[in-house]
């Protein structure tokens, strides 16, 4: 998890929300762990019409202005990574100019 580019924090949770591993800004962050497990429980109930019963979500992302959370489920574990959003070169140049 430490090798993920732009990573500023991570969590590995069990399906019931217990923290298995953590690091960076999310180190031992039980609050974020609870919010994310609740969010996953909610997302299971989204629109059965738009998303068929066999269409399980493979990824959830929560995007803020300068960072985002990526949430994935694998091997009965929940992986959460907090990542920085790099400003693109053209945008930062525009600010300088």
């Amino acid at each position: 998890m430490d090798k993920i580019p732009d990573q500023i924090g991570y969590l590995v949770l069990t399906e019931d929300g217990a923290v298995l591993e953590s690091g960076g800004e999310l180190e031992n962050d039980e609050r974020v762990a609870t919010i994310i497990t609740d969010l996953i429980a909610l997302s299971n109930k989204v629109d059965p019409l738009a998303f068929g019963p066999n269409e399980q979500f493979k990824k959830i992302s929560i995007t803020y202005d300068d960072h985002w959370f990526a949430i994935c489920l694998s091997n009965k574990k929940i992986y959460v990574v907090k990542r920085n959003i790099q400003q693109t070169g053209s945008e930062s140049n525009a600010i300088i100019v």
Partner: protein, 92 residues
């Protein structure tokens, strides 16, 4: 009164790869929906956006994206209004 909202919805629906869209108020009541978005999912969509807002309550509401193999659901809150867009993922 709903004309402006209907116009925005029409505009969203005319964008390529959009399957459906939905607008709901803070109580989870559906204000408008079109395409594959079902009125009944308004409550869940608002609940998801509220849950995501709890992550960092001091920052402005984030955009939540739920992804399957072929589809995406984007949820964004603006003030008391929550909007959701159901998208087909293009293979380009």
């Amino acid at each position: 009164m709903e004309k402006e909202l209907d116009k925005v919805i029409e505009e969203i629906m005319s964008t390529p790869n959009i399957n459906g869209c939905l607008v709901a108020d803070h109580q989870g009541l559906c204000l408008a929906s079109k395409g594959s978005a079902h009125v009944d999912s308004a409550g869940i969509i608002v609940a998801i956006s509220e849950q995501a807002c709890k992550l960092q309550p001091n920052l402005k509401p984030p955009t939540v994206c739920l992804e399957t193999e072929k589809k995406k659901c984007l949820i964004q809150r603006h003030g008391t209004i929550t909007g959701a867009i159901f998208k087909q993922i293009s293979n380009i």
